[in-house]
């Protein structure tokens, strides 16, 4: 046990000297993130952390296998959601039993450097044998990458001791090999820092210009007084909030672009999101009937209005609702009704932007990690998130509906009777 303790301390010093002495691959990383260190016990290629208790004066591994081995690992960084530093790991093998190595098979493990990676950064995974023992030849049979999101597997049948290439998602790198007639598998983890995508800086909204989204008011006997929609809405897709719209218009080159990882490395052939262009630009608008550019109607009906208009314009030409209530004679309640409609729609817009700015409503955040084994499969996943976000934001906008209503009196042209009539109109606040 004393010998083991000495070995451990020696290994720690070697690692500490190497790392603190400026051999890190990223000086920035060593300045920003404290290195961490761990001891693991390995059996059959799987290594688990050991909690070290030095104080009793005895270092006990709890095992009786004289060939049981472990590793001391020093990491210069740990993964974080928004981190961007590179990570490297130094490893030293050692016998936990403290016995000599002559009667034991060499320790075989796989190491990926770096193992904490930026998006599309190259990593090199290498099978290692410590000590190198020519009397126990190692034959590599296969490399395999098992992705952690969402389902990707890359397999490479090869006898190479290295596997290198750019990566877009983390996971487990595995190597199947034979040594002394026994097939074994060793593994290493790689982690990829996600890109900090957000659409918060690109989305927005404003009052619509006359004619801008008028097609999105569907003709009906009782049309809405106002709407809040995406600038790309049409008479067919009149509820759409995002551009491009509808969801079926989303494909590689329309709303986003996709690419596959080149080369023959652990992520080769995996399709990922390369760029994004979809956006949400909301427009509020009131129905044309309430606007100065609204459609005119014959000056027939309530004689008071007919008289006002004839006097004001010196003729009995058709008038629209805006003119009837503001130019023929000024009725303040009409202006109040128009103000209430605008306020109502602007609240929808404000709420929609709040939802879209939240993490769960940020389409780019949802799209960023998507990967697939084909471009078509990726497209399905992209559309799924698009639809999810669109409905989340739209349902959020509906929460802006208050329970209060307001009633105003002014002249309206009633289509059924084809007459101008004075009466109350009630609106949601």
């Amino acid at each position: 046990m004393r010998r083991l303790r000495k070995d451990l301390r020696l290994s720690i010093l070697v690692l500490a000297t190497a790392c603190l002495g400026g051999e890190m691959s990223s000086p920035k990383a060593s300045e920003e993130a404290a290195p961490s260190i761990e001891l693991v016990r390995c059996r059959g290629g799987d290594c688990l952390p050991i909690i070290i208790d030095w104080n009793p004066g005895i270092f006990g591994t709890g095992g009786s296998d004289p060939c049981e081995w472990g590793e001391l690992r020093m990491n210069d960084s740990v993964p974080s959601e928004k981190g961007s530093s590179r990570g490297t790991q130094r490893r030293a093998g050692l016998r936990l039993s403290g016995q000599g190595a002559a009667e034991c098979l060499p320790n075989v493990f796989v190491e990926c450097q770096p193992f904490l990676l930026n998006f599309l950064q190259n990593t090199t995974c290498t099978l290692q044998s410590i000590p190198f023992a020519p009397e126990y030849p190692i034959v590599v049979q296969r490399w395999r990458f098992v992705g952690d999101y969402p389902d990707a597997i890359v397999t490479r049948p090869t006898s190479d001791w290295h596997w290198a290439g750019p990566v877009v998602l983390g996971g487990t790198v595995e190597v199947d090999f034979t040594m002394a007639g026994i097939t074994n598998t060793v593994r290493a983890q790689i982690y990829v820092f996600r890109r900090d995508w957000t659409w918060a800086t690109g989305i927005g909204g404003r009052d619509g210009l006359p004619g801008e989204v008028d097609d999105c008011f569907q003709p009906s006997a009782n049309p809405p007084a106002g709407i809040t929609v995406g600038m790309s809405c049409t008479d067919q897709f009149f509820t759409q909030l995002f551009t491009p719209a509808p969801q079926a218009a989303i494909s590689d080159g329309s709303g986003y672009s996709a690419q596959s990882v080149p080369g023959s490395g652990p992520n080769s052939g995996i399709w990922y999101m390369q760029g994004v262009s979809a956006t949400m630009q909301l427009r509020t608008q009131i129905h044309k009937e309430y606007r100065a550019d609204g459609p005119t109607h014959p000056l027939v009906g309530d004689p008071v209005l007919v008289n006002h208009c004839t006097t004001a314009f010196n003729n009995a030409n058709p008038r629209n609702m805006h003119a009837a209530n503001t130019l023929c004679f000024y009725y303040a309640e009409f202006d109040s009704a128009v103000a209430v409609i605008w306020d109502h729609e602007r609240r929808h817009m404000t709420t929609g932007l709040q939802y879209a700015n939240a993490s769960s409503g940020d389409l780019y955040k949802r799209w960023e990690p998507l990967v697939a084994l084909s471009n078509l499969e990726l497209q399905s996943k992209v559309r799924q998130e698009y639809q999810n976000t669109a409905i989340l934001v739209a349902n959020g906008m509906l929460t802006a509906h208050g329970t209060q209503t307001a009633t105003f009196h002014f002249y309206r042209f009633i289509s059924d009777s084809a007459k101008w009539l004075w009466g109350p109109s009630t609106y949601s606040r």
Partner: protein
Amino acid sequence: MRRWSGTAALVLLAANIPAIHAQRITLDPDAAEVAGLLRSRGVAGQAVAVLTQRRGPQVQSKLHAIADSLVAIAISYPGDDARGTRTRAAARGALVNAALGLGGGIPYAGGASRMVRIAVSSSSEAGGALWGISQLPNRGQALQHMEDLATSQHTIAWAAVELLSTSMGAPGLELLHRLYLQRAVTQPRAIEILNGVASYHGWSR
């Protein structure tokens, strides 16, 4: 610290690492492993491959247990921050992708009813689940679930109407026309949308 003389420091430093190594991605996870991965790292690992039996037949009870875990996390994993969003989305995405058989294998037959549960119970993942229902390979099943949702009082009833009109082709429009004639849609927002669709297509009753 340069001499690493303090043994306590070593123990403390070692304690930072297990989070990296604790959850290895395996090829044949069970429900507990899938749930553990989602909770610790916000990823579903190989859940879809198992649910679609891409690497060989699986016991149905195991598949249902995994799917139920995904539903539970998609609905109830807390937090409006990036972690909460990512975790719920990963759970919902895995279930939808398995139900649709994206990436190969056998579409998970138990996915439809579970997607409905997410659609009516999760405010943040309802749309993705609804989209999944609309894309089910069994079109008859897809239309039946969409009809049930469009005629319900759930907050996504209007979205079911919208998807029927924009993403399910002629059968979706035929179904909507029937619902319009029968006045079967009763949720106010859904009625608004359906009236708009009827107006565009020139339906009358």
